[in-house]
Symmetry: C2
Amino acid sequence: MNGSKETVTVIGLGVIGGSYATALKKLGYTVYGADCDEDTVKKAKERGIVDDAATLADAFLPLSDIVVIALYPKQVEGELRRIAHLLKDGAILTDVAGIKSHFTEKIESLLPENADFVFAHPMAGREKKGIDYADDRVFKDANFIITPSERNKKSSLDTIERLAREMGFKNVMRLSPEDHDKVISFVSQLPHAIAVALVNSDDRQFDTPRFVGDSYRDLTRIANINEKLWSELFLGNKNNLLASIKEFEKYLDIIKKALENDDKAALEDEFVRATKRRTEFNKEL
Amino acid sequence: MNGSKETVTVIGLGVIGGSYATALKKLGYTVYGADCDEDTVKKAKERGIVDDAATLADAFLPLSDIVVIALYPKQVEGELRRIAHLLKDGAILTDVAGIKSHFTEKIESLLPENADFVFAHPMAGREKKGIDYADDRVFKDANFIITPSERNKKSSLDTIERLAREMGFKNVMRLSPEDHDKVISFVSQLPHAIAVALVNSDDRQFDTPRFVGDSYRDLTRIANINEKLWSELFLGNKNNLLASIKEFEKYLDIIKKALENDDKAALEDEFVRATKRRTEFNKEL
């Protein structure tokens, strides 16, 4: 590397991979891109978010110090099997998958000896999919989780953390894969399940959009959801997500019971607790 | 009135009443304000959002063509009993309450013969309470519901609709009190119940704020809630709200069942339906 910036290949130029490429190119890295969709490859080149791109990463890999696999979780293994023998000696790989348990060990077993895989979850995204919605501004001040494994070198972890900070992420946290999946089931998957159920439970007796305020709009924005990706994320974390849903239902039940019993004090208690938590929360952010 | 703008008294200078006063004063109306809190009266005068203010509206009422009662729903009846004999001949009254059934008939029975009460619900607000958070910009492009009664004169309904449009509201709809309460239980009260339950169901095993993305932030913003007002609104609409919660739970159950059965197709169906609805919704707004 001789003090100059690393060369990075981004595999998968969808909304997240495309945003990685955009951010890293702006930062002065040499960036190669690969995507199975020819139209995406063409757009990436035309828009100058990569130095070069192709439908397969093969030609770029022997030159790349860092490889970002920005595919759906289930595709990562297959792609790694295909490319493992092409990796540069000492390459650092990373991913963007929203679930981590039952995933990392299998992936690591496929790595050549002198390659290191740093599992990461950039907590930023958009409701839309595809390169047309790639936008590195979504990384600004967002959260980034790394789930270190025993096999990881400290220098590899530090490299991916540095990359995240350079791209604009603010909090970079390190968690075990198990803790990652627990916390994600609550802060990300449960809200998506709620938004979907809320929109679908509309009996449409009235023309809903004409009656909504900001609250309904805010709560349902993420009901616009990529069904292939999110069904994979939900099922890949089903036990944690089921536990989070059940815990949520317990507190919704408290509100229901208070309504049924005309128990104003119980309702107020729930509202006061929620307000206190949400206000502390604002201070911390 | 002789072609000039009407004189309006706003009773209750909290976040909504204060916003009404601010908007109407800017529009050139003569605006008087009343609030039981002396500090609020002082602020309203200092900030020039009223022509005059006092702790009681009594002196202003004989001069006022329009009276906005911006109090909590349960306070409206008591205030009307107190002021009914002071109203100007031909006065139009209006309210801002978020529930309408079991409310309008009682109120109307208290009115002097030549006064008309137009029940209205401005669907705009802020999480904070009090005059310090009054801001007429929240009315811009918001929705406004009028629930006409048989007693209402057409001219009174048109006056309040005109006022709403002048203040910036975009959709002004007319609904029966019963339909209003049904639609509100879904688009406003259910989202608040969900946000409160979501925040309260956090087991806080992790430092949540460091792990959230926009989705959790958006879904919980309204968990910061005025407990006195909202417990009143919830209990005043309990049957509709309970029905909305139960309908929502049905759709959350579909997601739970799909998870338990590893049924990817069922999950995808729910996500596709939600995405389709939420996308149409964007087009309509």
